[in-house]
């Protein structure tokens, strides 16, 4: 027994050693030979940097889903908007709506409750099935109550809620190519909602039937210019051009989305030719991109970054106190100091491309002397501030720098500000439970409609309206704007809302962030839409 055991052990050790050495040699031989092969193939191997029929775009995280009903994140939207299409679409650089799968803009009844939508004929889904009114009906109905489930994050925003008395009451297929949507209440932003990359895009009924009931589609089928090939979780998503696309054919055959969460690695992947376009560039890395001979995309996004006063309890319930605090803050200097050239000083709640009338709004001017006197008169010597540490789409630096600079400004006018900081996840809860006089928050728009920004201050949900501001006149304006069709009359309503925000000061407006992306000079006609998506149909890449 002993001798047998001893023999086996020796054999085992020898086998182990030989196996390890063998594996090592094979691996090293493979490593040596593989480099050349990969370079010849021209994949994301550095020497070749990608063929001209492939564009590689880096995402910052794994998409949540490839089913428009089941995601609310930008990563999913960027991928899905190239596979699916909606009834309507935004302009190339703005949120003006034009028909896409619909033939024309909808015919809306006089009371604003019935939308009759004619559809384009002859369009097919990627699997060859017909796009028609029944497909539209099915795509919308699965997101209406009672079919809706709590994992559909944008269903209630786009299609409304029965309890709130808004949104879609029913969808009918009048004939093969006519859809009738009946609303519970008139809603001017509804057509813009139907152009969103979230919830609205039309999904093939065949894909819905194939998916597990109550779960997201994992094998996406749309009408868009690109078809789904595969998704390796955490690594990449590959799409291929839809050769039977009903519109202008896509210019690039393969569209690859690589998931690279680490910012520095994203930049190296651009420099190394592994990616052609990288998203979410940190302002501090802009020089690296420009000096490396790459293009920088820098345009205003659809955001507002602001400081909110607690208008319900604490020391800032008095409008004059809020005005005085606002006078103490040099917003322009603060924005320049924290964000450099990569954010625009906010003069209106909406970014300039959404609100061409923003220059007419008069925000509280910087006047520390007046602030000091007013705050002393009101007996304000201290304020309590809470902020978030994590970067947000509207504030890439997080809220800590903002809080400290405002602490400095207010110290100059005799007010001591105590700051409590939380990571974003904790902050979202604390902002509803902790006492505060001032806090920091922001908003990323959804549909490019003024109501989407301005109604935040009319909301009774304090997680949306952190200022807890309630003003009947303002609420009436918001209700009026919601029911008024787009045009001068509607613009005038929202200008009035902007003026009320500036005058009554529930917020101090800080900045609108810019979307920063880096891309190879070989990439042509790339544009990142302010709603946070990129359409690749017309994008090409030189060999």
């Amino acid at each position: 027994m002993e001798s047998k055991s001893s023999f086996s052990r020796r054999q085992f050790m020898e086998l182990l050693g030989v196996s390890a050495a063998g594996f090592g040699l094979v691996s090293m031989a493979g490593c040596g030979g593989g480099g050349d092969d990969a370079k010849k193939e021209g994949g994301d191997a550095p020497a070749a940097g990608g063929a001209s029929d492939t564009i590689t775009y880096s995402l910052t995280a794994d998409p949540r889903a490839v089913d428009p009903a089941y995601f609310d994140d930008g990563e999913s939207a960027v991928v899905s908007c190239n596979m699916y299409e909606g009834l309507y679409q935004y302009g190339k650089t703005d949120a003006k709506v034009s028909p896409c799968l619909a033939k024309d803009l909808p015919e809306i009844s006089d009371d604003g409750l019935v939308y009759t939508i004619k559809l384009n004929e002859g369009i097919k889904f990627h699997d060859g099935t017909d796009f028609n009114a029944e497909a539209v009906k099915k795509s919308i109905e699965r997101q209406l109550e009672p079919n809706r489930n709590s994992d559909m994050p944008y269903a209630s925003f786009v299609f409304g809620e029965e309890e709130a008395g808004n949104g879609v009451e029913k969808v009918e297929a009048v004939d093969d190519y006519t859809v009738k949507i009946t609303m519970r209440a008139a809603s001017a932003p509804f057509v813009k909602n139907l152009a969103m990359a979230l919830a609205s895009p039309i999904v093939a009924p065949s894909a819905i039937e194939k998916a597990t009931d109550g779960q997201a589609i994992t094998d996406p089928v749309g009408t868009g210019p690109y078809k789904f090939v595969n998704w390796t979780k955490g690594a990449s998503i590959t799409l291929v051009a839809n050769e039977d696309y009903w519109g202008d054919a896509p210019k690039t055959k393969n569209l690859i989305f690589k998931i690279i969460t680490e910012g520095n690695t994203r930049i190296t992947s651009l420099i190394n030719g592994e990616c052609d376009i990288i998203s979410s560039v940190d302002p501090s890395a802009v020089d690296q991109i420009v000096d490396g001979g790459f293009e920088l995309f820098s345009e205003d996004g659809m955001t507002i970054n602001y400081m909110a006063f607690n208008t319900e309890t604490g020391k800032c319930t008095d409008q004059e106190v809020r005005k005085a605090v606002a006078q103490a803050i040099n917003v322009e200097e603060m924005v320049k100091s924290i964000y450099g050239d990569y954010a625009t000083v906010a003069n209106s709640v909406m970014p300039l491309w959404m609100a061409p009338y923003d220059k007419d709004v008069k925000q509280t001017a910087y006047d520390p002397e007046a602030a000091k006197k007013a705050l002393a008169d009101k007996g304000i010597t201290s304020l309590q501030c809470i902020t978030y540490t994590t970067a947000r789409p509207y504030n890439q630096k997080g809220g800590s720098d903002l809080a400290r600079m405002i602490q400095g400004y207010l110290a100059e006018v005799g007010v001591d500000v105590s700051i409590t900081e939380y990571d974003w996840t904790t902050y979202k809860t604390k902002v509803q439970t902790d006492p505060y006089d001032i806090c920091f928050y922001g908003w990323t728009g959804d549909n490019g409609d003024p109501d989407n920004f301005m109604n935040l201050l009319a909301d009774t949900n304090w997680s949306m309206n952190v200022a807890h501001w309630q003003d009947d006149e303002y609420k009436a304006l918001i209700a009026e704007g919601l029911a008024t069709p787009d045009g001068d009359e509607r613009d005038a309503i929202y200008l009035k809302c902007e003026e009320m925000v500036a005058e009554k000061q529930p917020w101090v407006l800080i900045s609108h962030s810019k979307n920063l992306l880096g891309y190879s000079p070989k990439v042509k006609d790339f544009y990142y839409h302010p709603t946070g998506v990129a359409f690749f149909k017309g994008v090409s890449k030189e060999a």
Partner: protein, 339 residues
């Protein structure tokens, strides 16, 4: 031995229960409410309440725990809050990436670590010893996220000779198969893809193996030095055996016992997911996934990954102990055998 193995397997149960209780308390009691994070900016209190009810978060914590354990025993770790897919499927999709990287890293770390350790012991207090120990010191001291970024900057950013991220060029990726890309490409005789997979492995393997290599180097050196001073080595030398034969056949074989323990435990820790390496190199394994899910408050996935890592550690410990007993007949387990 069989009795010992059975006893050890039974001991796994309380260990895993302990792990699940701790991770459950961290994610369900200490961590903030996931509803606002998962549901996003538009979440109303009513929507959050519905979501909590749909995900069983409105029931008492002990009930949630029992449901989790009952599910886990049946192989059901719940659904991801974020992707709405089964946790087991999400983990299974990523585990081959982690395992492939861990296997490559432990091979590189073992080969280099043992070589440097032997060299350092044999050439004690000479240049080779000092250089080996310096390399080991650097390996132990240098944080992986930093060494990883340096490697990326040098080989991808400056020299442009290696890719900085990912497992494979997406268009060359083998689909279906085992998920182990080296194996999949060999089975299909797709040598182009195999080459691409291997060059993508070089930098993460180097970064990940550095720390384990340093530990193995130090352990091999000290174990070798101890063995080289043993009487039987002196006897072997006195009998006129060649120096190389004594060092390798007599000293190294005995010195490898504690080293094999270290290699086994290091492999267990690498299989558990290299959080930093996977994040820096955009490596789609369970380590990076765990980090992403913590940030997104996707707690069912976090629980699933922690449970998997605990199981791997327990199994690796068990395997190491069994192999140790097998390799060294002097080691006996169990009270009766000790007596």
């Amino acid at each position: 031995m069989l009795k010992y193995i059975l006893k050890r397997i039974l001991m796994v149960i309380p260990v895993l229960l302990g792990v699940t209780i701790i991770i459950f308390l961290i994610t369900r009691v200490l961590a903030p409410d996931p509803a606002p994070v998962v549901l996003g900016e538009h979440a109303t209190p009513e929507a959050m309440a519905t979501w909590r009810a749909d995900n069983g978060l409105d029931s008492p914590i002990w009930m949630q725990y029992i449901n989790f354990i009952v599910g886990a025993v049946q192989g059901d770790l719940g659904m991801s809050y974020y992707t709405h897919q089964p946790v087991t499927a999400e983990i299974a999709a990523r585990f081959p990436a982690t395992a492939e990287l861990a296997i490559c890293a432990i091979i590189v770390a073992s080969l280099l670590g043992v070589t440097l350790g032997v060299l350092a012991a044999v050439k004690k207090n000479k240049l080779a010893d000092n250089v080996s120990m310096l390399i080991a010191l650097v390996g132990v001291s240098m944080p992986i996220f930093w060494s990883g970024i340096l490697l990326i900057l040098l080989f991808a950013g400056i020299l442009h000779v290696l890719p900085s991220s990912g497992r494979v060029t997406p268009l060359l990726q083998p689909t279906g198969g085992t998920g182990f890309f080296i194996l999949d490409t060999i089975m299909r005789a797709d040598w182009t893809a195999l080459g691409d997979v291997l060059i993508h492995l070089i930098l993460p393997t180097l970064a990940l193996s550095l720390y384990s290599m340093a530990i193995i180097t130090r352990m091999t050196r000290s174990s070798m030095l101890e063995t080289l001073n043993a009487d039987y080595i002196r006897t072997a030398r006195a009998k006129g055996l060649k120096k190389g034969t004594v060092n390798i056949k007599h000293a190294l074989r005995n010195a490898m016992l504690p080293v094999s323990t270290v290699i086994g435990l290091q492999f267990g820790s690498l299989l558990g997911g290299a959080l930093l390496t996977e994040t820096v190199f955009a490596w789609p394994g369970i380590g990076k996934f765990a980090v992403d899910c913590v940030l997104k408050s996707d707690f069912p996935v976090v629980q699933g990954i922690v449970l998997l890592v605990a199981v791997i550690f327990v199994i690796m410990n068990l395997v190491v102990d069994i192999v140790y007993a097998y390799l060294d007949p002097r080691i006996k387990y169990g009270a009766k055998e000790e007596g």
